[in-house]
Structure formats: structure tokens, C-alpha cells
């Protein structure tokens, strides 16, 4: 497994405020990675660190084996910032020329055919584009560099549902065509579920879970049965969420082992519920690594 982003005890602070805390992560190459978490959890900070816009306060980060912000690495990484900033006074075609000036690997025909498909007028000023068009322009600039890794910060947050679907479809086509690795941040779990096969959950400036989506779904179960205490569960089952009525208990647990207790009704967990359970947990549950996924404290 080659690594797209590798961080070791990475922290970023602004004055006294910790934006990212002690983050240790291995994000594998060749995946579409969803970075989820509430607003202010540190998603943008992590992406900005990965693309060299921010420098770490402590710890280390490497991207595609290189140092973020280095010239040759910038060539290999495409980035679309939140709200897809573009130069208001420059036309769409001037943006493409900007890309061709700055990137040695720039693919002009790719950029133009993509904008052609999107019905974007090359002569239009970027300031008069809609949010969706801006996002598409920024994405086009990022992929026309033919990057090995594409980093997208809340790419669809400001888009209407239709534009959102178009954007994500375009993204999936790029991944299918080029095998580009993608890391995208979002607080829309539905979008992440649609396109991502790997998940990183950030809560309160910490990474609390990361892993392959299939593995995550396979190792989390919803148990319901007669009322009992969380402490009475086997030690390999980590309780993420629990709720109780007078007679009945429901647990969301993570375990690498099959559940044999006949008292339980075992149901699979939807990804959205799983994510919400982690976001709602008062503190990231502390336990050792489960198979195929990583729990980071």
C-alpha cells in the first residue's frame, strides 16, 4: 500500500486554539477518501496542511512521499479550496491559461473539453459564474494538471442538489478514467457515502476513526435485546452508542469478531448512522485497533 497522506502526531494551533491535535493518519493511495466531521473539526486545517497552505505547529506530514508546498509536489497535487475561489476579473479561458503557465503537466484539451461538456463560456468573467460553475472551473483547473492526488475542501457545500450531483458525477468519472486518489472533506454524509470508499472521521480537532468503508460497515453492528449494562459486554466489543428503555437495550458496537450471543438481535449499521454515532459520542471511545481499521486517539 502506497500512502497518499501520512501524518505523525500532527498538530496545528492558531494562537491558543488547537485546530488539529495530535493527528496520526495513513491515508492510502488510490482511494476516494471522505473526511467527515462537524464544522470546525479541523477538516480544512488538515487539507491546508496537506497542500502546504499551512505549516504544522508540531508533528510531521508527508504527501505522496514529499513535503507539502514543494514545487514538484504542487505539480502532483490538485487542490480545490472551500467555496472554490477564482479571480473575479479574469475570464474562464484566462484561468485555463493560468493553469497552463504554472503547470508543466497541464492538459489543455482535457480542460477545454470538460468545460465544453459543462457548457461554460470561455469568455465569461469568473466573477459572474454561479457557485456550481465556479466549483466546476476550479475542479477543471485542478484535474487538468493531471494530479496523482486530488484534495477537495467541502467541494459541494455551497452547491444546490443538482449541481452537487453533477459535480460528484464528474469527480467519479475522473477517478474512473485516471485512477486519481481523492481526499474530500464534507459534512454531508450522504455525499461521502455516494462517492467514498474510505472514511476519516474528525471530531473536535482529533481523528477518531479511519478505515475502509466496507471494513467499517462489517465491523460495526447494532445489537438490540433485553436490558443490560454496557460493562457486561465482551471486552472485544467497543460500545460507540447505547440507549436503554426499561426492558430493552440497544448498542452500537465495534468488534472484529462475530457476535454469537443468542440474546441479541444483530443488525447492520448504515454508514450515516455510524458516522453520526461517532460524532455524537462524548469522547472518542478508546480501544485498540480493530481489524482493517484504525482508531486514533
Amino acid at each position: 500500500m502506497t500512502v497518499a497522506i501520512e501524518t505523525t502526531a500532527l498538530s496545528k494551533r492558531y494562537g491558543r486554539k488547537l485546530a488539529l491535535q495530535d493527528c496520526t493518519l495513513d491515508i492510502p493511495d488510490g482511494r476516494v477518501v471522505g473526511l467527515v466531521g462537524p464544522n470546525g473539526a479541523g477538516k480544512s486545517t488538515l487539507l491546508h496542511l496537506a497542500v502546504g497552505l499551512l505549516a504544522p505547529s508540531s508533528g510531521a506530514i508527508s504527501v505522496l512521499g514529499g513535503r507539502p508546498g514543494d514545487a514538484d509536489l504542487l505539480e502532483r497535487v490538485g487542490f480545490v479550496a472551500q467555496d472554490a475561489p477564482v479571480y473575479r476579473g479574469m475570464t474562464v479561458s484566462q484561468h485555463l491559461r493560468m493553469g497552463s503557465f504554472l503547470s508543466k503537466r497541464w492538459d489543455d484539451s482535457l480542460a477545454e473539453s470538460r468545460l465544453d461538456d459543462l457548457d461554460l463560456d470561455l469568455r465569461q468573467k469568473a466573477g459572474s459564474l454561479s457557485g456550481g460553475q465556479k466549483a466546476q472551473l476550479a475542479l477543471t483547473m485542478a484535474i487538468a494538471k493531471r494530479p496523482e492526488l486530488l484534495l477537495l475542501d467541502e467541494p459541494v457545500a455551497s452547491l444546490d442538489p443538482l449541481a452537487r450531483r453533477e459535480f460528484l458525477q464528474g469527480l467519479m468519472e475522473i477517478v474512473a478514467d485516471n485512477g486519481t486518489s481523492v481526499v474530500l472533506s464534507s459534512h454531508q454524509i450522504g455525499d461521502v457515502e455516494r462517492v467514498c470508499d474510505y472514511l476519516v472521521i474528525l471530531v473536535a480537532s482529533r481523528v477518531c476513526l479511519s478505515g475502509d468503508v466496507t471494513d467499517l460497515l462489517g465491523s460495526h453492528h447494532r445489537l438490540s435485546g433485553p436490558r443490560r449494562d454496557a460493562a457486561s459486554l465482551p471486552s472485544d466489543q467497543v460500545v460507540i452508542e447505547e440507549s436503554h428503555t426499561d426492558k430493552q437495550s440497544t448498542f452500537l458496537v465495534r468488534t472484529s469478531k462475530p457476535i454469537h450471543d443468542p440474546a441479541w438481535t444483530v443488525k447492520p449499521v448504515a454508514l450515516e448512522d455510524l458516522v453520526l454515532a461517532y460524532l455524537a459520542a462524548p469522547r472518542p471511545p478508546k480501544r485498540a485497533h480493530a481489524a482493517g481499521l484504525r482508531v486514533v486517539q
Binding site: 508546498g69 514545487a71 475561489p85 479574469m90 484566462q94 493560468m98
Partner: protein, 338 residues
């Protein structure tokens, strides 16, 4: 990166070229007229013995426009600092487009190229303006004989002001991160720096010359002056027989003016002494007394021969400060904006 810089600067460059073109046309239309006037009146006025009339006519003719040009040359560097320099980084930060630019190209290269290319463009624009204005004003400059009064609108210093103003604007934008404060800081610091250098540094950039002459300023109000009327007199002190400085520019004492009174003890020049045998206040009499008291003027001045040395040195100062600011800019962009 150079191509991007030029592409993004296209609008400003067009405005600047348009402005220069308009000024060039205006100067080209009025300039030859002024030269013609000079050639027909002032050039041969000595033969007709009416030089004061001829020069006065020429100065009146060129005056209004020459004031406009004077203001233009003084103001354009500040405008460059405010409208080209300050937005360069501040607007990228405010509109967040730096996240686009600095993930396409390393930010240190971005800022270096932008600074280098646009500083040269600023210098070229102001240089061209200065050359045009200098050419247009040459008949007036020849009869005014006071090149030091237009020192900061002629020659090479203006190019230094332009470079300084531009990089100062960029630096203000980098440090404040906001466009409007950056513009205000640019204007304030530019004006302060220009005034400070002109008043406190320029007179001493080259060791000034000294000359002691018979004092005529108390009696007649005008000094015998320096060998060349184009010299820049920095100070004109009155000294007494023992060489002590007792006044400035013909005024003696703290009141700021020279009190000359006639009384029973004769003519008294307050603060300098009295002449018992002089009993009149006519300028001839006062001059007699001044000579009796052996009052002299100590002139400290920059001779006209220092003009270009002063120009190059002042430009070097501004370019030196520009280089320091540019270094600060690059450092700040690399280390403080991350």
C-alpha cells in the same frame, strides 16, 4: 509565473499606458510651443535688454501646466504604491484566491516574480513620465535657474520613489492582510519617508560646501549668495566678529526678525552690537554698521555640481530600502502567512 504576472497585470498596465499616452500627447502639443517661445523671446533677450519681461512671460505661459506636472510626478509613485502595491497580496488574501495561486506555484516563487516584474514596471512607468516632464519643462528650468526646487521631480530619484512606493504597498498588504488599512499605511509611510529624507537626509548626503561672505542680508534683505545662483543654500547664518552664530537668514535674536533702532547711542542692531556714529536707518547706513561690526554670513550649501551625486545617492537610499522591504515581504509570505 512571469506570464501569469503579466496577464493578471494587463488591466493596470493598460490604464498606465493610457495615462502616459494622454500625458505624452498633451506635452507634445504644448511643449514645442514653449520651446518656440523660449527661442524667440528669452534666447535673444540679452540683445533687447528685456530679459525679466521675457522670462516672466514664459513662466506665466507655462505655469499652470507646470504645476499640474509637478503634482503628477509627485503623486504618481504614491498612487502606484496604493493601487498596485497594496492590493497585490492583500486582495489575494481577502478574496482567498491565494489558495488557488499558492497551490499551483510555490508562494515564494509567486511573490518573488510578482515583486520583481511589477517593481520594474512601476519604475519604467514613472521613469517615462519623468523623462517626458523633464523634456517639457526644460525651457522653464533653464530660466528658473533653481534645479534644486524641482529636485524630486527630475532625474533618477523619481524612479527610486516608484520602486519604494510599490514594494512598500506590497509589504503593507502582506503585514496587514487587509486592503484598506494597507492602502492607508502605504500612503502614510510613503509621505513620511519622502519628507524625512528630503528634509533631514538630503542636505547632508554629500558634505555641503561652506562660504563666508560679507553680510548684506540684514541691510538689504538679500544675500550676496553663492558663486552659482543654482546652488542650494541649506543655511545662511549671521556670525559676528568672533565667529559666533547670532542669527539665521538675516534675523537675529529670538523674535525672528532683526531689530534695528536708532537712539542716543547711534544705530543698534539688537543682539549684534551698536554703531555710535551711525544715526540713520537707511539701508546704506545699516550696511555701514554691519560692516563696522564685521558681521558676516556663513553659507552652507550644496553647489550645483553636487546635483547628480545627490540624485544618485538618494535613489540608492530608496532602492536600498526597497530591497530590504522586498526581503521582508518574501520572508513574511513564506513564514507568517502559513
Amino acid at each position: 509565473m512571469t506570464r501569469l504576472t503579466l496577464m493578471q497585470f494587463r488591466l493596470q498596465a493598460l490604464i498606465a499606458l493610457g495615462g502616459l499616452a494622454i500625458i505624452a500627447v498633451a506635452l507634445a502639443v504644448t511643449g514645442p510651443n514653449l520651446v518656440h517661445l523660449y527661442d524667440t523671446t528669452v534666447a535673444n533677450c540679452a540683445a533687447n535688454h528685456d530679459c525679466s519681461l521675457a522670462t516672466a512671460a514664459l513662466i506665466t505661459n507655462g505655469d499652470k501646466f507646470s504645476i499640474v506636472l509637478r503634482v503628477l510626478v509627485e503623486v504618481v509613485p504614491a498612487i502606484i504604491g496604493i493601487f498596485w502595491g497594496a492590493p497585490l497580496v492583500a486582495r489575494e488574501l481577502e478574496t482567498e484566491t491565494f489558495r488557488l495561486a499558492w497551490t499551483e506555484v510555490p508562494r515564494t516563487r509567486w511573490i518573488r516574480v510578482k515583486l520583481l516584474v511589477l517593481t520594474f514596471v512601476s519604475m519604467a512607468v514613472v521613469g517615462a513620465l519623468s523623462v517626458m516632464v523633464t523634456w517639457w519643462s526644460s525651457p522653464l528650468d533653464r530660466i528658473r535657474m533653481t534645479p534644486f526646487t524641482s529636485f524630486d521631480q527630475r532625474g533618477v530619484v523619481v524612479v527610486g520613489y516608484a520602486a519604494f512606493a510599490f514594494v512598500l504597498g506590497v509589504t503593507a498588504g502582506v503585514v496587514t492582510r487587509r486592503l484598506l488599512p494597507a492602502m492607508a499605511v502605504t500612503l502614510g509611510v510613503f509621505v513620511a519617508a519622502r519628507l524625512a529624507i528630503a528634509h533631514w537626509v538630503r542636505p547632508h548626503l554629500v558634505a555641503p560646501s561652506r562660504l563666508v561672505v560679507r553680510d548684506t542680508v540684514i541691510a538689504t534683505g538679500s544675500s550676496a549668495g553663492t558663486p552659482d545662483p543654482r546652488d542650494w543654500i541649506i543655511s545662511d547664518q549671521t556670525i559676528n566678529a568672533s565667529g559666533r552664530v547670532i542669527g539665521q537668514f538675516g534675523s537675529i535674536g529670538s523674535s525672528g526678525s532683526t531689530a534695528v533702532t536708532v537712539g542716543v547711542h547711534g544705530l543698534v542692531i539688537k543682539g549684534a552690537g551698536s554703531c555710535p556714529d551711525v544715526h540713520s536707518q537707511s539701508s546704506q547706513a545699516v550696511q555701514n554698521c554691519v560692516d563696522q561690526l564685521h558681521l558676516r554670513e556663513l553659507l552652507i550649501y550644496q553647489p550645483i555640481s553636487h546635483f547628480w551625486e545627490l540624485q544618485w545617492l538618494e535613489m540608492a537610499i530608496f532602492l536600498g530600502v526597497t530591497a530590504i522591504l522586498a526581503g521582508l515581504c518574501v520572508w513574511w509570505v513564506r513564514n507568517r502567512l502559513a
